[in-house]
Amino acid sequence: MKHTRAMVLVSGDPLSLERGAMDVYNRLQDEIKAFGIDQEVNVTLVPELGRHDAAPLVVVYPEAVIYGPVKPENVHYLVEEHLYKGRVAAELQASVKELSGKIAWLTARKGTLPAEQRIVLERAGLIDPTSVEDYIVHDGYQALGKVLAEMKPTDVIDLVSKSGLRGRGGAGFPTGTKWGFVAKAPGSPKYVICNADESEPGTFKDRLLLEGDPHCLVEAMVIAAYAVGASEGYIYVRGEYSLAQERLHLAILQAKEMGFLGKNIFNTDFSFDLHIHSGAGAYICGEETALIESIEGKTGQPRSRPPFPTTHGLWGKPTLVNNVETLANIPAIIRHGAEWYRSFGTPSSPGTKVYTILGNVNMTGLIEVPMGITLREVITIYAKGMKDGKAFKFAQTGGSSGSVIPASLQDTPMDFDSFNKAGVSLGSGALLICNEDNCVVDMAKVLLNFFRKESCGKCNPCRIGCQRSWEILNAISEGRGKMEDLPVLMELSANLANLSNCGLGQTAGTPIHDILTHFRAEVEAHIRLKVCPAGVCRMREKVLR
């Protein structure tokens, strides 16, 4: 197994190539082999790094040192100094300290890689989740004590707004703003709901927190309730998460006994009660309005919006719905302040993000890293490279409701705004990394099959659109597709996005749009040549003859 400890990027834009970037790239590989460190260091030629004034550029991670202009004869020295001996080769450093290209942000977090940054999962896997004492020893319930003793509800909301925290449930809505809406909404009682449905395939970040650090969520929910003026709360936990439910039950019991929940918390006038509601296994119940219907005992179908839950939520009352990971950031933000929180991640998306890494990589599992890290970094450093040295083809983000990201976009910083700009979405934090042996048609087919089954059926664009898209993709994958199908698919995908009532339908067409944008040739090969280039789809015999 290859353990990458450093990553070297060489700029490959036309100017750099003209100035000998290819020679530099080749020499780097030779030298790295000569020093016997080719198993630990990864060298890549990337399309564009910016800063033409110092081309060709060489950037070395994890320290993010920028070298340039680098000549082939400098390479030996650079490799020996930086990669072999581990010192910065100062003479070769570029006069520029920042890049102006796609990864200009990288200098902002010099030295923070490859160490993970754990805020949300600070205690998960460290403490005994069944012991409230262990939680308290690790600074537990201090944030709640501070809030109740020293802060007004508006202070808490201000602090959360200042921290720049954005919802981790998928949409990235500013958390402080949402809290403000609920606090200002007329009506009582108000409710706080934690969305722990986590039904995106391949996502298990919330489960890890619920199982490993349940008190953190309890503490965060009491703080949220105080800030928005709620007296009752629900944790909507995915039905299959029995261990998480068991530990939450215990945590609530312990918190009640110690006076962190219930009447007169910390001896103040503030009282708050917390319940667990077990989900019944429908993906759509993760959507906040369907989730609310489900708690009310109705069929889990999304409501029409507006009005939004912030004013008309559970039982028609103002309701705050936040994801587990969003809430888990709160105690740390209260303890350390907004400034501190903003020191992680990017200016528009501060903090960290928990990802579940799956697919054809050497190391699958869970990581928590600063926002704004790139897919390339995730694959090379945290996932320890592609399995069997195969080529990275595309990644699928967010379980199912995210995007298909082609290799050409792997240097886009993973934060809400950069992803929006690139036309892709972060989803819930699952990263399915696929190599060249995977077929995009096959993947889109699998995803649409999922959406077709999970659509609640309330509105036509989604109920019929998902079914029809799946049928066409299925036909294409069996060699029965026609070229005329492609504009139809595009139209279906656009209708899904524009006309659906809720997020499920709105994102269901994304994979279709993405594969037709980035992998059109591969899709057409299925239709024109009746061949699956990746060798995944089985063409019908009859079609071939």
């Binding site: 999962l121 896997g125 989740p129 998460y241 261990l243 006994e257 869970l366």
Partner: protein
């Protein structure tokens, strides 16, 4: 359990708990932590836990605390077991089958020899 009425109460409780812990590790007692998240359990952490508890009983090992924790994110290396002997740094083991667990109990805990080939460098 006592009810916490103020930040002072909380701080006091925390300090008491810390004192208790310090006294325990100073006396050289051993702590074994088994990661028991869903991934750990799926990988067989319950059997590992059972093997540890059985060994303690059979060998009559004293001054030892066995606790559980959640997943630490290295789901691929589960079942994960961590061992802290006295004031020594924590050692993290991966892929701990019941058999490996018995070896850890024997080599590391009873004889102070770390089972190197199962250590995950942290």
């Amino acid at each position: 359990m006592t009810t916490i009425k103020s930040l002072e109460d909380l701080k006091k409780l925390r300090e008491q708990a810390l004192e208790k812990r310090k006294a325990k590790s100073a006396s050289g007692s051993t702590q074994v932590i088994v990661a028991m998240g869903t991934c750990g359990i799926a990988a067989g952490a319950r059997d590992t836990m059972k093997a540890i508890l059985e060994t303690i009983e059979k060998e009559g090992i004293s001054d030892i605390i066995v606790t559980q924790t959640g997943c630490i994110g290295l789901c691929e290396r589960e079942p994960i077991v961590q061992v802290v002997v006295g004031e020594n740094p924590k050692v993290t083991y991966g892929k701990v089958t019941p058999e490996v667990a018995r070896q850890i109990m024997h080599d590391h805990i009873q004889n102070g020899k770390i089972v190197e080939n199962h250590v995950i460098p942290m």
